[in-house]
């Protein structure tokens, strides 16, 4: 299960960041922010090669000592980042993919809300619920 889940706008500012409460929240902000380097690089290199036939799932971004950072980019260039504890070896690639898919579906629901202004921070309860379901349960 994830320790941090983030949604990043097309212009690379955060729309939503949620991390495990017990740990240093700021550190996750930095981790997500730095992972955007790799996301940008991947988008630009893939964009050239395949055009619109793009795989949304970007795979593992940063192999850090403590965490594994996974990325996913929607067609509208909104980025999802999931941070998983490195010690959590039970998670397979497929499970990460399905987490991203769930996240994407929920994000689509948020976007469909006529009262949501695209580009504003996400405050949807339903989205929050979906994210909570994917986070490590603490306490």
């Amino acid at each position: 299960m994830a320790v941090c889940i983030a949604v990043i706008a097309k212009e690379n500012y955060p729309l939503y960041i949620r991390s495990v409460a017990t740990q240093n929240e700021l550190k996750f902000h930095y981790t997500v922010h730095t992972s955007l380097d790799v996301v940008e690089e991947k988008i630009s290199s893939v964009g050239k090669a395949l055009g619109d036939q793009r795989e949304l799932y970007l795979g593992l971004l940063y192999p850090t000592e403590d965490y594994k950072v996974y990325g996913y980019v929607t067609n509208s260039k909104v980025k999802f980042v999931i941070v998983v504890d490195s010690s959590n070896t039970s998670l397979r690639d497929n499970e990460i993919r399905s987490m991203f898919r769930k996240l994407h579906n929920s994000f689509t629901d948020v976007m469909c809300n006529p009262f949501y202004n695209p580009g504003d921070p996400i405050q949807s309860k339903a989205f929050n619920g979906v994210v909570s379901g994917m986070m490590v349960q603490t306490g």
């Binding site: 212009e11 690379n12 500012y13 955060p14 960041i17 929240e25 700021l26 902000h29 930095y30 922010h33 730095t34 955007l36 380097d37 790799v38 690089e41 971004l61 940063y62 192999p63 850090t64 000592e65 006529p114 009262f115 202004n117 695209p118 580009g119 504003d120």
Partner: protein, 1123 residues
């Protein structure tokens, strides 16, 4: 430096090379020996064999070899690897000792020298006692040797020398001291290299042979040691593949050792060494993925092996070193050609190393309590000054049992280590590592990672109390986070920067960061914000602010006194802060009410100000500067006035300014160049917040965009103050001053279209609706500029109604004065246009005037103007067609000389308006008129649309004109005007060029005189005239053919001669028998002398038919006659 304890020993990091000792060389005093030594060691390039040479004295003492152990049964090893071992085999124990000796084969004292050489060899052998190192002898000779086998003395003496020195033939070399020294040396060293290889091979065999004596319970350490040694010897032998294999075995054996707290450091140290060797060889073999995999495995295995809890910082230091040295290996491999990628580059390892050093610092902080004094005697001192084995504790070397042998000693030792650790400059280490990482991430396109590391560096400088550097770094990266709008991160950086600014007592930066932390980009808690706001107000009052929380207490004192000094300093209490690129807590937006203002309207400007801080804040002055500074005086709001200058949190406030533009600024743009807001007061501290342009800051563009997208905006629009929806306020930073709206009407009356070349009249009527006199009314009229260049050449404007203007008249008449215009009055003017070509044209009528008017009680003179344009098509007034016909109205393709013919002109009107043709005339060339000049037949004819006027001229080509030629005939002139135009106006001359005709001459001309009609049964006399046009006598045969319609009298057939230039007449009396158009009896003419001429051509001059009237009734005739 204590950090060096963790550095890898240099003998581990170097590339092992075979060690060969050279003796018998006197490199100081002997030039020849010096040259030989230089050839060995100077400029060693990569293609030379890897040997490290050393010159040693002949009686040099080599390290003693311990007596060989025959049994390991009772032997308990004290450690894994001795600290001196690697150095011993790299630099002390040679693989080969070479003895240089000057001896020529024909030396006179051969015997003596031979025995001296043998003695020297013996000395070397003795000092190498017990070692397997080989000895070789090199004879330095002055003479060039003969080819092998030819010099019998040489081979005999070589044999003898080998025997005397107990050498094999392969170990005796000859070095002739001649020109090709380097070549000989290279051959020599290749031979040495082979010897060295053999030596290391036997060493490997020797170490391997120990294995059978070892047992797994007591000799575990030796397994590791032996594998390491074999691998190291393999490296010396340059067999890196096998070396790698043995190192890998050694590595797995290290982890099989029984690990406990006392030997953990030793195991980790050795594991680190072996791992380093493995990674190094993997990179060398160009298998970087193997290296990375090995390193990962190494880290996974060792991460948890912390060892002694009181010395946990040691583990972090060791981990950090592991990452750092791997990063260095990786970086070195890249320099040698390896390519790294964004997600796998040395930067990550440096970063991780920095991270572990941070851990180390933290642990050191926790574990090393201050105040304890360094124990005496120093437990870290050893008798030899160093350790015997790598990774052991100085106070219990060689001790391998699980529990420390002396608990008290252990405690003192740990304390000593802790005290030492306390003095380590951790921050320096961290910053250096972060610096390395930053350089790497910069190279591999990771700007955000770079920024993140720079933040860490800044924080580390902050902890190291180097506030200036910390501040610089933070300030540098802050704007990246601001523009990417990561508020949480920005707040964090700002808070640190604020602490730096406080501790440095940098007033301006302190104010700036306070402002940003109070602003909307900061996610600080409300109580934090109000604390900062209080501090900010204190600074504005020229007071010392409260220290920031979490500041180092020792620095706070120093900062306080710095602040007090600053406050005492006079003169520096005014400062301007550019806030545009930040996100300050006071937001400001300005807009002109409209993108353009007429010069007679007051210009309205609104400035909106909003504060985001938790408590109300007041300011003293708000001023706007405009591109024309003369207006600035109108755009100032001051607290001394009745304006309310207190801002309530989150409540936007609007300030309105209005001023009257100067008339000379008409057509110019007024821009807002800046806005200044003054906080504080003159007796405290004045801070001017300054915005460039119409305000806004680093975040407002995005907010405006979001606001425009928002669906909520529509709902908000219905509220009472829609303008005060802050995000929805758009900037309008410039306005155009445009001229006053003219209050006149311009009416054009005319009758389109224009006819080509006519003087087209347009009547312009200007009527004033002004309240005052319009002065200096001026008209600019003509072809509107910017159209086709050809149009301007064929368009002419004039005001003169009585003259057709010529081509010199311009296409645009500028500034025609029309005088003054009274209120309600009308001015009229006729303008005439002449267009020489067809097509549509745009005409411009620009009426300008000045009028006096009042704006907000001020009298100003405004210039106004009104433009009218009209598009008019130009048409040809009429089409003229011309044809030449014979007197019989038959079309002529050629005209006979001196024979009359007709010219017909048709004028067809294509004008929609009636045309008056005043007159027409012919201007003939070559031709002459056959009739006296008469009045024009078209005179005063009025042509309606599509009507046609035809004129007929009888012409003749005078004799003597060059025949068989094309000649010009002249022009047809028509004078005309519109029927509706002024009768006094000029007539327009239109000239039509007549077509050319082809002339021909006829030898004989024949024509007939006959009445215009005949009557049945009444005589009809016809006289034929036959003219000879040639200079010869012409014979003519004539015959008249009978006809049913006529009887006739006269010569039926005749042959006659006509003298040159004369004419013959033939008279016939025809007697018509039938009424109606009748064909005359045919006259056949033949010219026997002039066969070439076509007699048919003659016939066309003759009448063919005649109208015969019926016979009238006699009585009626009489009655008619009577009447």
């Amino acid at each position: 430096m204590a950090g060096s304890q963790w550095d890898l020993p240099p003998e581990l990091c170097c590339r092992p090379m075979a060690f060969v000792a050279l003796t018998g060389l006197d490199v100081v005093y002997n030039a020849v020996h010096r040259a030989i030594w230089d050839a060995f060691c100077a400029n060693r390039r990569a293609d030379r064999v890897p040997i490290s040479f050393k010159v040693l004295a002949g009686d040099h003492e080599y390290p003693k070899c311990r007596t060989k152990r025959t049994s390991y049964e009772w032997y308990i090893p004290k450690g894994i690897l001795k600290t001196g071992w690697m150095n011993k085999h790299l630099n002390l124990v040679p693989a080969l000792v070479v003895l240089f000796y000057e001896l020529d084969w024909d030396d006179p004292q051969w015997k003596e020298k031979q025995s001296e050489c043998a003695t020297k060899v013996e000395i070397v052998r003795t000092s190498l006692q017990g070692r397997n190192a080989k000895v070789a002898v090199v004879l330095i000779q002055k003479k060039t040797p003969l080819p092998p086998g030819e010099d019998l003395v040489a081979s005999e003496r070589a044999q003898a020398l080998c025997t005397a020195c107990d050498l094999s033939g392969k170990s005796l070399f000859v070095l002739p001291h001649t020109d090709h020294l380097v070549g000989y040396i290279i051959r020599l060293e290749n031979a040495f290299y082979e010897h060295a290889q053999t030596y290391y091979y036997t060493e490997i065999r020797r170490v391997k042979s120990h294995k059978e004596f070892l047992n797994k319970t007591t000799h575990q350490l030796l397994f590791v040691r032996h594998q390491f040694k074999i691998a190291f010897f393999s490296e010396l032998k340059q067999d890196t593949q096998n070396a790698l294999k043995y190192y890998r075995t050694a590595y797995s054996l290290v982890h099989e050792l029984r690990a406990h707290e006392t030997n953990m450091l030793e195991i980790k140290t050795m594991a680190g060494f072996i791992n380093y060797k493995i990674c190094r060889l993997c990179f060398q073999h160009n298998t970087p993925l193997d290296a990375i995999a090995q390193f990962r495995k190494h880290m996974d295995q060792c991460k948890k092996k912390i060892g002694c809890a009181e010395l946990a910082f040691e583990h972090s230091a060791w981990m950090s070193k592991q990452f750092q040295s791997f990063g260095e290996l990786f970086d070195e491999a890249i320099k040698l050609g390896l390519t790294a990628i964004q997600t796998q580059n040395p930067g990550f390892y440096y970063q991780q190393a920095a991270c572990y050093t941070q851990d180390r610092k933290q642990l050191a902080h926790q574990l090393c309590q201050a105040g304890a004094s360094y124990p005496s005697p120093d437990p870290l001192d050893t008798q030899s000054g160093g350790l015997d084995f790598y990774g052991q504790r100085p106070w219990r070397q060689g001790h391998q049992s699980i529990d420390p042998q002396d608990a008290e000693k252990e405690k003192v030792g740990i304390l000593a280590l802790q005290i030492k650790e306390r003095d380590v400059p951790h921050s320096e280490l961290i910053i250096a590592l972060l610096g390395n990482a930053v350089a790497q991430f910069k190279k591999y396109k990771c700007p955000r990672m770079k920024s993140h590391l720079m933040v860490q560096m800044g924080e580390e400088y902050y902890h190291a109390k180097d506030y200036t550097k910390a501040f610089k770094l933070l300030d540098y990266v802050m704007c990246d986070y601001r523009t990417e709008r990561w508020c949480a991160l920005l707040t964090d950086i700002l808070s640190t920067a604020l602490r730096c600014a406080y501790l440095m007592a940098s007033v301006k930066d302190y104010i700036l960061y306070c402002m940003e932390l109070l602003g909307r980009a900061s996610d600080l808690k409300e109580e934090q914000k109000s604390r900062i706001e209080k501090n900010l107000l204190k600074v504005l009052m020229n007071d010392v602010p409260e220290p920031e929380p979490d500041c180092d207490p020792s620095s706070v004192g120093a900062a306080r006194s710095l602040w007090t000094d600053r406050m005492a300093l006079a003169g520096s209490n005014e400062m301007t802060i550019e806030v545009q690129d930040y996100i300050p807590f006071i937001q400001c937006k300005a807009k002109f009410q409209s993108p353009s203002f007429h010069v007679d309207q007051p210009i309205q400007l609104q400035v909106f100000v909003r504060a985001d801080c938790p408590h109300p804040v007041s300011f003293n002055k708000l001023s706007v500067s405009l591109s024309n500074q003369e207006y600035n005086q109108w755009c100032v709001a001051e607290s001394s006035g009745q304006e309310d200058m207190t801002l309530l949190p989150g409540k936007p406030k609007r300030y309105r300014f209005s001023f009257v533009a100067k008339t000379e600024d008409v057509g110019k743009k007024i821009e807002i160049t800046g806005i200044e807001l003054m906080m504080g007061s003159d007796n405290g501290r004045c801070v001017f917040l300054s915005w460039r342009g119409a305000g806004g800051d680093a975040a407002s563009a995005h907010e405006a965009l979001q606001s425009s997208r928002s669906s909520r905006r529509w709902a908000r629009g219905n509220e009472a103050h829609p303008e005060l929806d802050w995000d929805g306020i758009t900037l309008q930073n410039s306005t155009m001053i445009i001229s006053r709206v003219p209050k006149i009407s311009v009416v054009l009356s005319h009758q389109p279209p224009i006819l080509t070349n006519e003087m087209y009249c347009i009547r312009l009527a200007v009527q004033s609706q002004e309240d005052a006199v319009a002065r200096d009314v001026q008209l600019t009229t003509g072809l509107k500029p910017g159209q086709d260049a050809n149009l301007s050449q064929t368009t002419h404007v004039t005001l003169d109604a009585f003259k057709v203007c010529d081509d010199s008249a311009a296409s645009l008449l500028p500034d025609v004065p029309l005088g003054d215009l009274q209120p309600g009055g009308t001015l009229e003017k006729c303008i005439y246009f002449r267009c020489g070509s067809t097509g549509p044209r745009v005409f411009l009528f620009h009426v300008a005037y000045s009028v006096e008017t009042a704006v907000e009680g001020r009298q100003i003179i405004c210039k106004c103007h009104k433009d009218e344009t009209v598009t008019i098509d130009t048409l040809v007034p009429f089409d003229v067609s011309v044809k030449f016909v014979s007197t019989k109205f038959e079309p002529l393709d050629r005209v006979a000389v001196d024979i009359p013919f007709l010219l017909l002109t048709d004028v067809v009107s294509s004008s929609p308006w009636p045309l008056l043709l005043a007159s027409s005339s012919l201007q003939l060339l070559t031709l002459t008129s056959n009739t006296p000049q008469l009045q024009s037949q078209l005179q005063e004819v009025v042509l309606q649309t599509a009507e046609c006027a035809t004129e007929c001229f009888c012409l003749r080509c005078p004799p003597g004109t060059n025949d068989n030629n094309t000649v010009a005939t002249g022009q047809y002139l028509i004078s005309w005007r519109r029927q509706s135009s002024n009768p006094d106006g000029p007539l327009i001359q239109t000239t039509v060029t007549l077509p050319h005709i082809i002339l021909e001459s006829v030898p004989v001309y024949i024509y007939a005189d006959l009445p215009s009609f005949g009557r049945v049964r009444e005589s009809l006399p016809v006289r034929y005239h036959i003219e000879n046009r040639t200079s010869l006598v012409q014979e003519v045969e004539m015959a008249v053919e009978p006809s049913d319609a006529f009887m006739f009298s006269g010569l039926k057939q005749v042959r006659l001669r006509i003298l040159p230039g004369t004419e013959q007449q033939m008279l016939y009396n025809y007697y018509p028998l039938m009424a109606g158009y009748q064909t005359l009896p045919q006259l056949n003419i033949n010219l026997p002398r002039c066969q070439s001429s076509n007699t048919q051509a003659l016939k066309r001059f003759l009448p063919q038919r005649i109208f015969v009237k019926p016979q009238g009734r006699q009585p009626e005739d009489a009655s008619i006659a009577a009447a």
